[in-house]
Structure formats: C-alpha cells, structure tokens
C-alpha cells in the first residue's frame, strides 16, 4: 500500500481516477479500524488532511459550508451552527468520545454511511446538501438522496465528498438530535433528529429523521406534514410516532431488538418535541 498526501482537491481526484483500488483517508476513525481488521486493502491511500479546500466552516449567504475534513469536535463547538443547522452540531456533540471527535470528520463519517451513526439522520433533518467533487466538476446531492443503503452512498467511485451545505433557513428553528444508546458514547440504538419552528405554540415547520432503524435514515414527508401546522398535541405526536414506527425497518443486534427499536420511536419523538418546547 502506498500513502500519498495531495495538497489540492484536483490532485486528489486525479490520483483517485487513476487507481481503482485507491481509497481516501479522512480522520481515520473508521477506515484505520477497518485496515486494522484487514477488511479493506487499498493499493493507495490518499490522505486528505493537507487539502485546504476541504477544511473548515464558512458562512456563505443563506448557507453554511462545512468542509468535509472538519472534525466532529470542531462542528460541536462552532457557534454559527444555529437554528436549522444546530441539529448537526447537536449530533456532533454526541458522537462517541472526545478522542474520536478530535479525529473523525463529517466527510469520513457520512461517506461510510453507517446507519447507526449520528450524522446521517441529522443531515437529513437539516435538509443538508452534500457536494461531491469529481474531475468533471461538482454535483450537489440532497442528504435524502445521498444515503442509498447500508454503507452505500450515491457518491461515485471517482468522486470525493468536499463539503456539506447546511441551509440557515428556517432561521427561527429549534433543533434537537436525541440519541439513545446502551452505554455512553456508543452508537445509537435509536436516534431522532428534529427541526421545528414554533410560533406561539403552533408548529410552522417540522422535519424529522430517525437513525438506526433501517439501512438509511428514516424520513417521511407525511410525518413532517402531520406535525407542520399542528399545535403538537400529544395525540398528533403519537400519530407521527406511529407512522415512523410502522415505517421503520430495524434489525436485531447487540444494541437492541428490532421490536424494541421500533417501540421507543414515539417516546423519543415526544421527548425531542418537549425539549424543544422547553427551550423555545
């Protein structure tokens, strides 16, 4: 295996295009674990850490641009991620433990597309758009369409995820990523990502995604619509929760049975709403 560290995105894309077995190394939190376990064997490893275009968070008009190499720790403390974008910051705060948050990057995490991870659901709830860079240019992929299956994304093999674009709107939104895990810092048994705009107790905007209950984040427009325009009464939330529960397709694993995962969705939704109401 060869290790290279290009200093520009175009250089990295060129190496990637020229080598079918090349893989990109972001923070390493997942890929190095896979290397250690001999699960991957790239011919070339492209270290992305020296590419400035992938670094940092910038505000661009009505969007926040998070470079793919931005670490969870950096996202967790960035005060610009408010309103709608706060759901991503809330998720970043809850990923694993400090040492992992210092290493792991948002780009690496979402390209791995582990449905038990925190970012996928949060990005769907935040209506994020993911920027894929290829040699022929970039394309923008809504988070909803990015996650295709377990560990599978719509990124092409010769593309590199360069940034995550988070809309600032709706600006008055409150956001919560609520995660339940067996032990502190573990992957979520179930997580819920919720963005709400509350107007005098009524809900004028809602977007909710559930993680760890299927191969990709669970997002139902129908549920957003049930909540939007309602006063978020208990029965409304129960109805939304039931819809999510019915659509969920979790698996049995060491973190919890499929049934258990399904059953706690409504309660998590209720709690997320309650917590946002308290703040709001």
């Amino acid at each position: 295996m060869k290790y290279v560290e290009p200093t520009s995105l175009s250089e990295a894309l060129e190496i990637l295009a020229g080598d079918d077995e090349a893989r990109c190394l972001a923070g390493g939190a997942t890929l190095v674990a896979m290397l250690n376990a001999d699960l991957v064997e790239p011919s070339t490893l492209i270290g992305l850490r020296r590419i400035d275009e992938l670094a940092g968070i910038t505000a661009t008009g009505d969007q926040l641009r998070i470079g793919a190499m931005t670490t969870h720790a950096q996202i967790a403390v960035d005060g610009r991620l408010t309103g709608n974008a706060a759901v991503v910051r809330d998720a970043a705060r809850q990923i694993a433990h400090p040492a992992i948050r210092n290493m792991g990057t948002i780009g690496g995490a979402i390209c791995h597309a582990d449905p038990n991870a925190d970012f996928p659901g949060a990005l769907v709830a935040a209506n994020a758009v993911l920027v894929a860079a290829g040699q022929s240019g970039t394309r923008q992929i809504p988070a909803d369409e990015f996650f295709l299956d377990y560990l599978e994304t719509s990124l092409e093999e010769d593309e590199i995820l360069s940034a995550v674009m988070l809309p600032v709107e709706p600006s008055g939104a409150g956001a919560r990523h609520l995660k339940f895990s067996r032990t502190h810092g573990d992957y979520a048994t179930v997580s819920i990502s919720l963005v709400l705009v509350l107007d005098a107790g009524a809900c004028s905007y809602a977007r909710v995604a559930v993680g760890s209950v299927g191969p990709t984040p669970l997002h139902l427009t129908e549920v957003d619509e049930i909540l939007t325009g309602s006063d978020l009464a208990g029965e409304t939330i129960r109805q939304a929760g039931r819809k999510l529960m019915e659509a969920a397709d979790p698996v049995d694993d060491v973190r919890g049975s499929a049934e258990y995962r399904r059953m706690i969705i409504p309660g998590l939704l209720q709690r997320a709403v309650d917590e946002l109401r308290e703040v709001g």
């Binding site: 290790y3 190095v32 376990a37 810092g185």
Partner: protein, 160 residues
C-alpha cells in the same frame, strides 16, 4: 505491497525518523519501533482508550492513526508528560488519589485527563465523567479517577 515509507515523527519534543509500512498505526510504531511502550493497546479498535495520545495537544487514538499521517504533528505520549524529572500534576494527582489499579488504562486515562484540564481548567464532575468516558477502566470504580482530576480543579481555583 509493503513498501515502507520514511516517516519523521515528532514525539515528546524529539524527532524520530522511522521507516514504516504505511499501514502501520502510530500505536504500532510507538510500541514496536520506538520502544515507547507506555501507550497501551486494549482493543485496537478505538473503543477502549488505552492508546490515547495527544496529537497537536488534542487527545486521539494512536490505534486509529496511521503513522504516515502523523508527520508534521506534535505527538505527546505518557512518556512525555514529565518535565525536568518532575511528574506532571495530573500524574501526581493520580498517584495521590490512587486513580488506578492494574494501570493498563492509566497512560491513556492520564493523557485524556491532561487534555481535558488543558482545554477546560475548571470542569464540573459531570464534565469530567463525560470527557473521560472514552477511556475504559475495568478495575476502578472511577470514583478515585474523578477525585484525582477534581483535586486539580480545586487547586487551580485556589491559585486564582
């Protein structure tokens, strides 16, 4: 397949030139090539925290860091905490409060505690518990580890 690459690592203030397979983790290079065996391997999976080192002053997992990707960064291991033969206050506090038993997790725990206090000299008990949760300890009740870290918080307050 196993083309080794020259890697220069800055560890505890010293530069080390090593020839390493790019697949080698920093943990492997520390322990096997540089004989810095204070950093421990408990899971090789990033989960247990025994291999926690500072990279540019931030705690990270040496088992999830490739040595080749650690060049031009300042690495601090447990062996680098003493200055002028004096133990670091965190090390002293861990001894004083008996914040360890078998000691296998201790280098990682001490590093994580130092990083926490460097960033936040005045953490609450809950913050300490949250921040150190990435480091598994199978022996202690965690009580004495928290006490050790809290003792430094109090000391700082006293100075202020």
């Amino acid at each position: 397949m196993t083309d080794k690459q020259a890697v220069t690592l800055s560890i505890n203030g010293d530069c080390h030139d090593v020839l390493a397979d790019p697949r080698r983790t920093l943990l492997q290079v520390l322990r096997e090539q540089l004989s810095l065996t204070g950093t421990k391997c408990g899971c090789n999976n990033g989960v247990c925290g025994s291999c926690t080192v500072l990279i540019d002053d931030l705690p990270m997992r040496a088992c999830l860091t490739l040595a080749v990707a650690a060049t031009d960064r300042e690495i601090t291991t447990i062996e680098g905490l003493e200055t002028g033969g004096e133990l670091h206050p965190v090390q002293q506090a861990f001894i004083e409060y008996q914040g360890m038993q078998c000691g296998f997790c201790t280098p990682g725990m001490v590093i994580a505690a130092k990083a926490l206090l460097d960033r936040n000299p005045d953490p609450t008990l809950d913050e300490i518990r949250d921040e150190l949760s990435g480091n598994l300890c199978r022996c202690t009740g965690y009580v004495k580890i928290a006490d050790a870290v809290l003792s430094l918080v109090d000391a700082d307050r006293g100075q202020n």
